[in-house]
């Protein structure tokens, strides 16, 4: 029986590994750093599931509807439907493995989160990701001891061995010793977002470079919806990065305001009376960006958390308060905090079907590196859910082919690992990030996007680049081309030159593929609703 390779040991990777181990299948869990260092431990606010424990008559259908609407109908409805139907069981399973979610009468307590009318987000103060990861790491340990899960905890992926449309195996490098290792087998990618394209400007970790996404693209995997980048409305600047002020702060009553003519203007509440500060993230980020530019305005936006009661601070947000005091020397219980939108999540990524298969046989993707569930804008609390469920689905799909013999590296192809040693080029990263930030900000237009594309193309030709950076720049250019091609505004993608949504032409998935040296962008129909999903 063939071992399955899983790259990435965050929520998606661990979920895949445990799913395989429970079926008695062996896997290798490979990650650049141990699970404790994965971005998943940073997730704060919570995980969504229509458990309806708060007496609000919630159900998975409403979760489905909110997710589709939040994503402006760009996600595969069949996949989203399955995700939402399965969400309650996923959260119950987390409780059953002792994840310290906040509970009452043995049921998770749920909180409000953006873009959703019902309380649907299970949480553990503002450290939900850490708490889930701790329980899952312990669960995985059981199978590590029995030998079903084999960890490679300081190993980076260098190369996917793909020929004739089949993924035969991988090459990885041991970061500690620089030793290269070739491994046969089907491969599940769970390597998170593309942070290195926006180096120093995201809320996430430095380890999620997006290099694996770039390598997959380079070797023929399709990428989807790259233009959709979530700006989280409320972030603060800390050394070298943006730091998130969790949406939970608004869920618990925090209010956004700017100052116009010396008077506070609660612009979200004024414009959107129903959801107010809890509108979906794309809307809030745009409104903040606009509020900062108001005539007579102070040019700044603040989050007033002084209205949150002491009880909520103590039980739900204590870690958030510590963070503000630590990083800003501001006690949010006493003073408003200045906030701005910051890059937080990549809705786009490796294109997968409902079963998390890519267009390459034996290659799967799940979690933030994959494009699934979130459409044009992700709802808070849906990504941990999507990572856990996606990891499970990918593992189940790989298990279906477990006995096929074709997943072996035939020709020990050129081993590119040595080129991955000491190849960091921070200057080029900084440069790329500046260019992309200008072009792929909250408001975009043809001029900015094309000029960024040209500059990057020139850069590729001018400089001698390492393998890693060559691929990164191809990925960056694919992102720009996807954004250029979508001549409409939808979800997180706002075009100043095409301010309206255009369903007729663009209610479609953007697909990027590499043909020789050419990046091609096409639009593909979104799958029709089938079966049960069709009835809602």
């Amino acid at each position: 029986m063939n071992k399955i390779n899983i790259i990435g040991a965050g929520l998606a990777g661990i979920s895949a590994a445990i799913t395989l181990a429970e079926k008695n299948y062996e896997c290798r869990l490979i990650s650049a750093a141990s699970s404790e260092r994965a971005q998943s431990v940073m997730a704060e606010g919570g995980i969504n599931a229509a458990l309806d424990t708060m007496g609000e008559n919630d159900d998975p259908i409403q979760h489905f509807q909110d997710t589709m609407k939040g994503g402006v109908y760009l996600a595969d409805p069949n996949a989203v439907y399955e995700l939402c139907i399965n969400a309650p069981d996923i959260v119950k399973h987390l409780c059953s493995i002792g994840a310290a979610l906040r509970i009452k009468d043995k049921q998770p307590i749920l909180r409000n989160f953006g873009g959703q009318k019902k309380k649907r987000t299970a949480y553990a103060k503002s450290s939900t990701g850490k708490i889930l990861m701790s329980a899952l790491i312990d669960e995985a340990r059981k199978y590590e001891v029995s030998g079903l899960i084999q960890r490679y905890p300081h190993h980076e992926l260098c190369s996917l061995h793909i020929d004739n449309g089949i993924c035969r195996g991988i090459s990885i490098i041991d970061i500690y010793t620089n030793a290269a290792i070739d491994l046969d087998g089907q491969t599940i990618l769970c390597t998170g977002g593309m942070n290195s394209l926006f180096s120093g400007m995201t809320t996430g970790t430095t380890i999620n470079t997006g290099d694996v996404t770039a390598e997959a693209f380079y070797k023929g995997a399709e990428l989807a919806n790259l233009e959709f980048i979530q700006y989280h409305p409320t972030t603060i600047s800390i050394p070298q990065k943006r730091c998130l002020i969790s949406e939970a702060a608004r869920g618990e009553g925090g209010r956004l305001f700017t100052v116009i003519n010396n008077k506070r203007s609660y612009f979200m509440e004024e414009k959107y009376p129903e959801l107010g500060n809890l509108m979906p993230r794309d809307v809030v980020s745009r409104e903040i960006a606009k509020a900062k530019q108001l005539k007579n305005g102070c040019g700044r936006v603040y989050l007033d958390m002084t209205v949150i009661d002491e009880e909520s601070w103590k039980n739900k947000l204590s870690d958030l308060r510590d963070e503000c005091i630590d990083f800003l020397n501001t006690d949010p219980m006493k003073e408003p905090v200045e906030v701005s939108p910051g890059i937080h999540y990549f809705m786009g990524g490796i294109n997968v079907d409902k079963k998390h298969r890519t267009n390459i046989k034996g290659l799967y993707a799940a979690g933030e590196c994959a494009c699934q569930y979130h459409g044009a804008n992700r709802l808070g609390g849906n990504s941990m859910l999507g990572a856990l469920y996606g990891g499970k689905k990918a593992a189940e799909s790989a298990a279906e082919l477990i006995n096929e013999g074709c997943f072996a590296i035939t020709d020990k192809i050129q081993n590119t690992c040595s080129s991955y040693i000491n190849d960091q080029d921070y200057t080029i990263d900084k440069h790329t990030a500046e260019i992309l930030k200008n072009a792929l900000g909250i408001f975009r237009n043809e001029k900015k996007l094309s000029s960024a594309y040209d500059t990057l193309s020139n850069l590729c030709e001018r400089r001698t680049l390492s393998e890693r950076h060559k691929k990164r720049l191809v990925l960056a250019r694919a992102m720009l081309l996807s954004a250029l091609n979508r001549r409409e505004s939808r979800g997180s993608h706002t075009r100043e030159d095409y301010p309206e949504k255009n369903d007729e032409k663009f209610l479609k998935t953007s697909i990027a593929s590499l043909n020789g040296n050419n990046i091609e962008i096409t639009l593909r129909d979104i799958p029709e609703m089938r079966g049960n999903a069709n009835e809602v």
Binding site: A33, R37, Q39, G98, R102, I103, I131, C243
Partner: protein, 238 residues
């Protein structure tokens, strides 16, 4: 303000350590050791305080906001997280060393693999469904917060990598399991707990004051000791 970083470096596992200094400028009060290490590495060429060109400094980071434990090192003699160490609190000459209880990979990068081996050895996993009892929520939460950074082991007089005593980096995660395990199934973990934690700990609690996550180690320790040791002693004597 200008600072001098005095860094203990080492080319590889087998090379000898040496000291090298760097001058850095910090623009804000918030600047951390992690920030200046990144800044040094992000230059096209790196020069030391004597103007000598040198290799980039190897160290680990991930979250840059105290949530992942990757960047633990010894700064001015004290184990801590580089992303939590503000230059302004450290004086104009700052010494930086790798955690010394673990094998050095290169420079400030260390191999903390032993932490995971110890957790395996102690049986830190659930064998049954958890109770999900809200009275225990706080203990479970606190026990889930360990970063596996290793700072507590660095400071602990009784921990060394080949030793039988596993320290608080093993106690904290196993506190969750001890609290949740069904009584009948607790035996293996209880036995390992007594052997690898209870018996070796001098209870000075130096570890508590150093833990960068501010975990309430004392509370977890009392809880776990009660479950693993005192309760069984008491029951046996009855």
């Amino acid at each position: 303000m200008k600072y001098k970083l005095i860094i203990q470096r080492q080319k590889s596992k087998t090379d000898k350590p040496y000291i090298q200094s760097f001058f850095v400028e910090a623009d804000t009060d918030n600047t951390t050791v992690a920030a200046v290490l990144s800044m040094l590495n992000s230059q096209d060429e790196l020069y030391d305080s004597e103007g000598k060109r040198c290799d980039k400094i190897r160290w680990e980071c991930s979250c840059l906001q105290k949530k992942c434990g990757a960047c633990a090192m010894v700064i001015n003699g004290r184990p801590c997280l580089a992303c939590d160490a503000r230059l302004i609190n450290l004086g104009s000459e700052i010494t930086i060393q790798p955690l010394k209880k673990f094998p050095v990979i290169a420079d400030l990068m260390i191999d903390r693999g032993i932490l995971y081996e110890n957790l395996k050895e102690i049986n830190a996993w659930l064998t049954d469904e958890a109770y999900a009892d809200e009275k225990r929520n706080d203990i479970l939460y606190e026990a889930s917060r360990c970063l596996q950074c290793g700072c507590c082991l660095e400071i602990c007089p009784n921990f060394y990598t080949e030793g039988d005593f596993f320290g608080m980096a093993a106690m904290v995660p196993s506190a969750r399991i001890l609290d949740e395990l069904n009584d009948k199934k607790k035996t293996a973990l209880k036995k390992e707990y007594s052997k690898h934690i209870y018996n070796g700990c001098g209870k000075s609690l130096a570890c508590r004051d150093i833990c960068p996550a501010g975990i309430n180690i004392e509370k977890l320790l009392v809880n776990s000791n009660t479950i693993a040791v005192w309760k069984s002693l008491f029951l046996r004597n009855k």
